[in-house]
Amino acid sequence: MPQKLPHSSGRVLRWLGVASLPCLLAAGFAVSGGWLSPHRVTQNTLIAALQGVDGKHPGFRRNHAKGVCVTGWFEGNGTASALSTSSFLEARRVPVIGRFALAGGMPYQGDAPGKVRSLGLSLRGADGQEWRMGINDIPVFPVRTPEEFQALQLAVRPNPATGKPDPAQVQAFRAAHPWLASAGAALAKRPITSGFENDTYRSLDSFLLQDAKGHVTAVRYAMVPEETDVTIPALSGENALFERLANAIAAHPLRWTLVFTVAGPGDVIDDPSREWSGQDRQIEGGILTIDRIESEETGSCTGITYDPLILPPGVSASGDPVLQARSAAYMRSFAERSREPRPVPAVTPATLETKSQDKAS
C-alpha cells in the first residue's frame, strides 16, 4: 500500500522531489539550446542578419541567391597526390554538379559587374564520396569570424528611410575592427574580369591535406580559368553575365585549373581575412571542365547545398571558424528553402534557350 505521509510539509518536499528531475533536465536543455544566451551567434541569427540586408525571398538560397546550374567533370592529374590521399586528386575523371552565382540574397538583382561572383562545385566519386566547394572571386574574405560576419551584415543593413546602408554604422564597424582594414584594401583593389567564364574563384578559407603517412599540409585553393581573354561580345540587361556565360559554354566547354597554394611560414592559416605571402609554393591538382548550363528551375544544383565541410578522406577543415559557421548556416538555409514553394528564378530555361538560339542563328 502507498504509505500516507504524516506531515504536510514533508509531502510538499516530496512533490518538490518529483518535480526536481524534470526541472533539472529542462534547465539543462534550455542552456544547451541557447535559450538563455540570446547573444549567441547561431544559424538563425546569421540567416536573419543576411535577410536584414537583402530581404527574405522564399525558396531561394539565403545568400548567393541568383545563379544557374552547370555540369561537367573534374580530372585530377596525380600531382597533388603527394600531399593528399584523396582519390579526387588521382588521375581520373569524376562528374561535377556546379552552380555559378552572384553573392547576396537578392534573386532578381541585376548583373552588376562589381558584384562578387561565386562557383559552387560538387565533385562526385563513384564510391559515394564527395568534395563540395563554395568559392568566390575575391582575394580574401572581409571578416575573420562568424561574429564579425554577423556584425558586418548588421552594419550594412539598409536604412529604411534611405534604402542605403548608414555610412555611420559602416564607419563604426570599420573603426571597431581595425585588423580588417588590410582585407578591405585588398577587396577594394581587386581586378574585375568581364564575366563568370574568365574569373578566378578562391577557397578563401584554408583546408588541410593529409598524405598516406598522416602528414598534414595547410592549403588554400583556387579555380584558375584557362582563357583570360574572352572574345564573346559584352551583353547588356539584367542577366547579362549569366547570358554571357551561357554563350561561352555554348561556344565550347570552359576549363579551370585547380591550383593549391601551400601555406608558407608567415601565412595565417585560420583567418580567411588575411592574404598569404604571394611567395608560396603552388601545385596544380587537375582540370575542371564545364560543358552544360541549365536553369535552377530544372537543374540538379538546386537540391544541393555547397557545404564546404563535405570533404573526402585526405582533405579536412582547418581551424578557421568561418568554415564551421558556413556548414551550419548552409544546412539551415538548405532546409528552410527546401520547405518553401519552388520559386521562378531570374534565369529560366527560356532565358538560356534564347541565348543558344541567338548563337545558332
Binding site: 526536481s20 541557447g34 538546386t302 578522406p313
Partner: protein, 183 residues
C-alpha cells in the same frame, strides 16, 4: 505465475546505458543546431554514429524484452495510470527507433554523404535524393526530438512519483534493489 519484481540485469543495463546516450544526444543535438561555433562539425560528426548506436541498441533492447519481460506494475495502480505507463513506454521505444531513422533518412534525401566514422566509412542512403523531403524530414527530426525530450521529462517525473509519493517499488524495479526480504 510469479514474475520477478525487478527488471533483468540486461534490461537494467540497457535502460541506464541508453539514458546516458539519449540524454547526451538530445543535449548535443540542441546545442549544435543552435550554434555555429568552433566545434560544430565535430559535434555533428559525433551525433551521427551515436544516433545509429542508439538505433541498434533499441533493437537489441526490444529483442531482450521478449526474453526478459518487464515485471508487472503494482497491482493497486489505478487503471488509467498503468495504461498511461504502458503507452508512454511504447512511445519511448517508437521514438528511440524513429528518431535516428529520420536523421539518417533526412540526410539521404538531402543528398548529403553520411560519414559514420571518420571520413571513410559512409552510410548508404535510405531514401532517394529529394530536397523537399529533406526539408520536411529535417523539421520532423526536431519535432520528434522535442517530443522525446518532453516524454522523458514526464517519465523521469513519473519514476520519482512512484518512489516519493506512492512509495511503491517501481523505481527499485529499474535500479535493481531487490524487495525487502521481510515482505
Amino acid at each position: 505465475m510469479s514474475r520477478p519484481d525487478v527488471f533483468s540485469g540486461p534490461s537494467r543495463l540497457l535502460h541506464w546505458l541508453m539514458v546516458v546516450l539519449i540524454l547526451t544526444m538530445l543535449f548535443v543535438g540542441v546545442f549544435m543546431a543552435s550554434g555555429a561555433g568552433p566545434h560544430y562539425h565535430m559535434l555533428v560528426s559525433f551525433h551521427r554514429p551515436l544516433g545509429i548506436a542508439i538505433l541498434l541498441l533499441a533493437i537489441v533492447r526490444l529483442i531482450n524484452r521478449r526474453f526478459n519481460p518487464p515485471p508487472a506494475l503494482p497491482a493497486d495502480l489505478p487503471r488509467v495510470m498503468s495504461l498511461v505507463a504502458k503507452a508512454s513506454h511504447w512511445a519511448l521505444y517508437v521514438l528511440m527507433i524513429t528518431l535516428p531513422l529520420v536523421g539518417w533518412a533526412m540526410l539521404s534525401a538531402g543528398g548529403y554523404p553520411i560519414p559514420l566514422w571518420g571520413q571513410s566509412l559512409l552510410l548508404p542512403p535510405i531514401l532517394p535524393h529529394d530536397a523537399t523531403v529533406w526539408g520536411w524530414l529535417r523539421l520532423t527530426h526536431t519535432v520528434l526530438a522535442f517530443g522525446l525530450f518532453g516524454l522523458i521529462m514526464a517519465h523521469a517525473g513519473a519514476a520519482l512519483f512512484h518512489f516519493l509519493i506512492r512509495g511503491d517499488r517501481v523505481m527499485q524495479s529499474m535500479t535493481g534493489m531487490p524487495s525487502d526480504p521481510a515482505e
